[in-house]
Every structure is written in structure tokens, then in C-alpha cells.
Symmetry: C3
Subunit: 296 residues, 3 copies
């Protein structure tokens, strides 16, 4: 797992400058059959600075950008579990699945600053099944996925249920997604397709990424259903042996404005790093963070 | 601990075929005094496929047989803790105690299929104190037990409080249970007695189990208070080096129909196994499961 | 971590004699940079006998002195996380901080009996930021602290936010505290100061502790804001190689009566011990406990 802590600034928030932190303990439990099939489970125990610890603190006043603790959870235990069986290049997963679109190359071209700073550079915009580090994800929603890797080619299909009417004892919708990716001469091409009963979910997404001189560059696009298109151009540049700089520009039909940002990551050795970034969100709000991350 | 996942089918359920899963991480923490007394605690962190992860998901729509997540818990943390002190053949436990009747030989003659498939082959029918893997059990209800083993003889007495009026700040009832078991020539005889202020709790239960040719057979009976009698006949048969088959038939005064089922367990090596079973519940409903279990 | 269990008696409680227990699993996760800075996080997973395990058990009937489970929490997961960076004698902490007054020498001169027995011998009386083992503490309340040690001198400053109006999305107050302590010839002198927007918080506290013959003795005082003064005299005496006795007398303007108590701690080796104590609380109530503690 890892820990991170530092400062987060967000213009015009209830608390403009707050202390941001995350603790993530990851447990990967596995066993291998005599025939070489690996069975396993992944769980995370995670806590963010704006998570309530006690049931009495849910949505209470807190020193977060919004001024309150999150209202939907008590984040002190395990997230939804992902189970898998893996043999050769084939893996089947159930529960809190990774999700095909979430796992597709080019959806996370960079990881901006200390905290991710809004992830507006993720083209599919979380409009599909995704591994959830502090809630249930598709666990309990019928999540199933198959991942197959053959040489330079990867294909990943996922399925889960969606719910359009809460509280009627029925998950009434389905969501199926698939991506294929191919690595060729240092470039990676990926195409994802999804059929979902939620009409603002992603329908098509594509990405290409590779090195251009000293930079790793990604161009990604998504057709996010009735909400329209999302474009991302992002790059990462090494500056010196232990520092890199990342930057992006993104636009979407549902953005008020173009979104862009830049960060730096400086390794301090031993699994520790200093990170910071600044972003202008699609809402027009400026945000920035700065702090340390340590892996354990 | 262990993980398991697979499919569960239940006739006429809101969701007839669902993905079933469980993750169980067991922590046994102990210390030993200079005089050789072991003090310890057992906790489990467990999550089932129909457990809500967030407070906001309690009783929400989920892909479980009932169509919803469980309504009484957020199952992402530790269960009730069992504490114990052990020396020689004597063990004292407090908290989320094992419970005398729950621990008595013959109450779990088999473990049907992947998920247990209803446990209608447990004669005392959970009408007594029992270790609870995902809730509190007798922790906080004054649970205490003493277990003594001397050669082929075991005796186990447990005590906890019961509550007949919720929310009055008073646990108004008591429950005391004891069993004695004797192993003789490959046969195990056990007798359990209970005195409880809950009048549907078990009063008397008895079992005998042993090998008849290639089969391990158990006959168990319980007088479950004002709800009447419960009879179980169960057996396990090895078929080949790594496979066994289990089957049972049970009847009780509170059953609509006779209950019966059959399963197989096939070891895949390395602590992994393929398991499946089919059962006709006492309600007349047919259910089945199939999947893998892996120990870690 | 550690476990402890035993009996707790409290005169005139809903349940006068109850089974008391605690399980504490402590996780210290750290990483060290090439320059020798240690980054880390501390979390505890703790469960007490009067903690509800399920959301449905919050404030339900339980076998605790009060007759119910605690109403404000489901205590089965992680507490608020404390993050830190440490180099040489300097440490910076954020989140569920230790707190300056809570960490000041002389505030915990003894640890009475098995359970602490009310901690009325802590002069600052928890009127300041404090590490919280089973809730959030200052995590999410802007907790920050700096600890600096130079030879025999220690200084510790902490800061967090306070809330006078619940539910308005605003932590409207501030709390800053600092202590300095100096060790000289076997004696430790400490002085703490606090500026808080809560007017019953501690303003000044001081302590002196050291050995007088076979006894370690502490005298502590606190000016606890508008609630008045708190005085504590406490001592610890070794009696034999593996047993000690602790005793205290305390008075405060907000006590009905003088508070006093005595205990013993007897090591059983291997990290296990037998502990018990008796106290007369400031309310006039007598309480006592007896049990074992084991470290793991």
C-alpha cells in the first residue's frame, strides 16, 4: 500500500486550503493449484482525509474542501473484494472488477500531482465499471470480467448490472464493455466499446500513446453517450534522473471550459516522493496540491 | 483465511442465479506466559457478496438472491472478538464465544457445496450461542465458555445473555448450555443440554457419528424447544484420492417438507478446491452452487 | 497491539459487573527516503466490549455498564490515521495527531488497573487534541503537530480545528497548544499552554515527576478554562521483581468529591500480565477491574 499527505488548495471552496491525506493498505491473498491456476482476492483498506470514521460523523462538519465529511460511507474497513482465477495469459475476475474501460491503456495517461487533481484527463470519465478502492464498485452488482493477453495483444471484457430505480429490489440494467489493445514499435493503440442501459455511459473510446523524443504522449477520445465527446491530450517528460513533469489539456461537451494542468514528481528514494500539481478544472476553478507519498 | 467464489442458484428467488463470494481473513493473535498459559484473541474480517460496503448501500438494490444487500450491517471490518486463556486441556473464552451446542460433534456433519447451502443439516438449528464470523455473536452479550478435554472426553459449557425486549437497556434473559462428547473405537457420541429464557432455543441435542465401510455417517437429533424436533442423517464418502461426496436428509417439525442434498468436493492441490452441491430446502425450494475455494 | 479481558465492576450501574475486553491491532507503516527522512502512518483497529459491530446494533441493548452498546460508532475498522515525517529530532504529524497536552509528561503518570479506570488522574482532562484509538480524533479536523527533541529538552506544538455549531459545514474554531519539557537529574518538568476557542478547554497545565526513594511520584496541575482547576498526585512503587502498585488522589473544581484509586500490575512473562485496580470516581461511585493483558 501507500500513504500520502500534504496540502490541497481549491479556489472558492468552503475551505480553500486543507490538509489532504490517504492511507491505503492492500491485501493480495492467493493460492495456486497443482495445475498452475492461481486463485486470489484483492482487498484494500483505505481512508481519506474527508472520510468519516464513526457513523455519527457521516456528513458532519469536517476540514475538507466541501466543509463536511463524505455523506455516504464510513471508510475504515475493506472495500469490495475482487476475486480472480488466472492461468497463462487468461484471467477471470468477479466482484469489485477492474472494468474494461477503466483498465484500457490511455485512460490514465498521467497521475497529476499528489492527489490526481480531478482526473479530467480520463476520457471515458468513469462512465463504466471500475475498481473502487473505498466503496463496493461492482461487488454485489454481478461484476464479471475476462482478461486475455497474447504477446503484444490484450483484450478485456467486463460485465455488471446497473440500477435505474433505487430501492425496488431489482438491478434492472446491464452493462457490457470490451477493449482491445495492441503494442507496436513503442506505440500502444487501444479501442473500447460499451453497451449500457445507462444512456450517459461511454459508448466508444480510443487512445494512442507512445514516445515522441523525450516525451511520452497520449491522445484519447471517448463518445460518452448522450453527454457527448471527451478529448484528452497528455504527456510526461523526464527532467533529470529522479524528476518528471506531466501535463494535459482536455475538453468535453459537458465541460464549462477547457481543462488543463501540470505537475511534477520527484523521487526521494526508498519508495518516497515529493509531488505537486496545479490544474484548472473544467468548471473554471483552480486547484493545486503538494505533498509526499510513501510506498510500504 | 480463505476466499471462495462461484455461482449460486435458487429457484424462484428475485435473482435465481447470482455470483456468490466470500472473503475471510482470520487473525489469531496470541502470547504465552512463562508458566505456559496461552492468552489470545481471534478476529475475522469477512465480506460476502450480499454485504453492503457503504452505509448508503444498506438494504439497497443488489445482485443477491433477495435482490438487495443485507439490511443490518456494513460488513467490511472485524467481527466480534473471541478472547481466550488456555493451559493444558482447559480453555476459557469470552466475547464472541464458539458456543457449546455450535461446537458439539455431529452438528456440522458435512459442509454442503461451496456455500453450505442452508445448513438444514445442523440439528440444533442455531438455537444457541455461536461464533459469528461477520457480526458480534455473544461479544457484548456476556459470552463466557469453558472447554475441557481429557483424553477421549470433551466437555464444553457456555453462557451468554438473551434479550426479549429490544431497546430497554436491559438484557433480560440468560442462556446456559453444555455438551459432553466421548470418542470410542472410531465412534463419537455427544449429548448437549441447554437452559435458555428463549423458549424456541434448543433444550436437548444428541449425535452419534462414525465410519460404516467407506462412509462416515452421522445421526443427530435436537429438541428445539417449543418449535419441536429436528432429525438429521448425513454421510461423507471418499471417491478417489482427491474427491468426496456428501449427502444428507433432515426433517423437523418446523419444516414444510423433508430437506435433502448432495455435493462434491474436489481438491485441486495447494489449498484450492472445486466444490458444488444441490439441495432441496425444507421450504420446497431447490438450490445449487458451484465454484472454487482457496485457502491462504 | 494487545488484547485484554477480565471483569469490570461499577457500583449502581445498569450492569454492575460486566465482562470487559479490548482488542487493539496496531499497524505502523513506514518508508525512508535516501536522505534519511522517515515517512509513516499509524492506524489502529480496535474493538471494546461495548462497541456495536453492526449498524443495527448501534445503541442497542448490550452487556455493558450502561446497558447498551455505544451509540456513536461501529467499531470494527481503522481509526483516524496519523501521518508523519521524521528526521533527526524533528517530527511533523498530521491527521489523528497525538496532541501536545495529551503527550506532555505527567498527564499519564499511571495506568490504573486493567482498563485505566476513568483516567481522572489525567490533569488536562482530555480538553485538547488527543490521539483517538477508535474514532477519528483530529483526522479531518485539520490536525497538525510538530515535535522537536534536543537532548534533555522536548517541545511539542499542535493545532486543530474545533466546531461550535454542528452541521453548518463550518469548523468555526481553532485550538493551538504547546508544551515544553526538561529532564534534569532524574526529574522531569513540563509546562503546557493552550489557546482554544472552546472555553472549557485547558489553558495552562504543569507537571513535575521523579523518584523519591522507591517511588516514582508525579504532581500535575491544570487550569481547565471556565471549568476550573484540576490537581493530581500519583505514584508507582515496585514491590518485588515483577509487580508494581500504583495509586493516585485527584481533585478538580468540577468533581463532586475527591477521586482516588490504587492498582497492581503483575507480569506473567512473555508480554502477559495480570492487572487489577479499585477506584472511587469523583462522582462518588466505586469501580474495580481485574483481568489479563497480552501484547502481540
Amino acid at each position: 500500500g501507500y500513504g500520502r499527505f500534504g496540502l490541497y488548495y481549491q479556489e472558492d471552496a468552503a475551505n480553500e486550503t486543507t490538509i489532504t491525506s490517504r492511507f491505503r493498505l492492500q491485501i493480495d491473498a492467493t493460492a495456486e493449484s497443482d495445475a498452475g491456476v492461481t486463485f486470489g482476492a484483492r482487498v484494500r483498506m483505505q481512508q481519506d482525509n474527508d472520510d468519516p470514521i464513526d457513523t455519527g460523523d457521516v456528513a458532519a462538519d469536517g476540514f475538507s474542501p466541501s466543509g463536511t465529511f463524505r455523506g455516504d460511507r464510513v471508510s475504515t474497513g475493506m472495500n469490495g473484494v475482487r476475486f480472480f482465477a488466472r492461468a497463462g495469459g487468461l484471467e477471470v475476475g468477479v466482484g469489485n472488477i477492474f472494468g474494461a474501460l477503466e483498465s484500457m491503456p490511455g485512460q490514465y495517461p498521467i497521475d497529476l500531482g499528489l492527489t490526481g487533481l480531478g482526473y479530467e484527463y480520463t476520457a471515458y470519465n468513469f462512465r463504466g465499471a471500475a475498481y473502487d478502492s473505498d466503496e463496493g464498485g461492482s461487488a454485489g452488482l454481478g461484476g464479471v470480467e475476462v482478461i486475455y493477453t497474447y504477446g503484444d495483444f490484450t483484450v478485456h471484457a467486463s460485465f455488471d448490472k446497473t440500477d435505474s430505480v433505487a430501492g425496488d429490489g431489482n438491478l434492472d440494467g446491464d452493462r457490457a464493455a470490451i477493449y482491445g489493445a495492441y503494442a507496436w514499435n513503442g506505440w500502444t493503440f487501444a479501442l473500447g466499446l460499451q453497451d449500457s442501459d445507462v444512456d450517459t455511459d461511454t459508448e466508444v473510446t480510443a487512445s494512442v500513446s507512445g514516445d515522441i523524443g523525450p516525451a511520452n504522449v497520449t491522445l484519447a477520445y471517448a463518445d460518452n453517450g448522450t453527454d457527448g465527446d471527451h478529448w484528452v491530450l497528455a504527456g510526461r517528460f523526464d527532467v533529470g534522473a529522479s524528476t518528471n513533469i506531466e501535463a494535459y489539456v482536455a475538453d468535453a461537451d459537458y465541460f464549462d471550459e477547457e481543462s488543463y494542468g501540470i505537475d511534477f514528481n520527484h523521487s526521494l528514494g526508498g519508495g518516497t516522493s515529493l509531488r505537486g500539481g496545479i490544474v484548472k478544472y473544467s468548471s473554471g476553478t483552480t486547484a493545486a496540491d503538494l505533498g509526499v507519498r510513501f510506498n510500504f
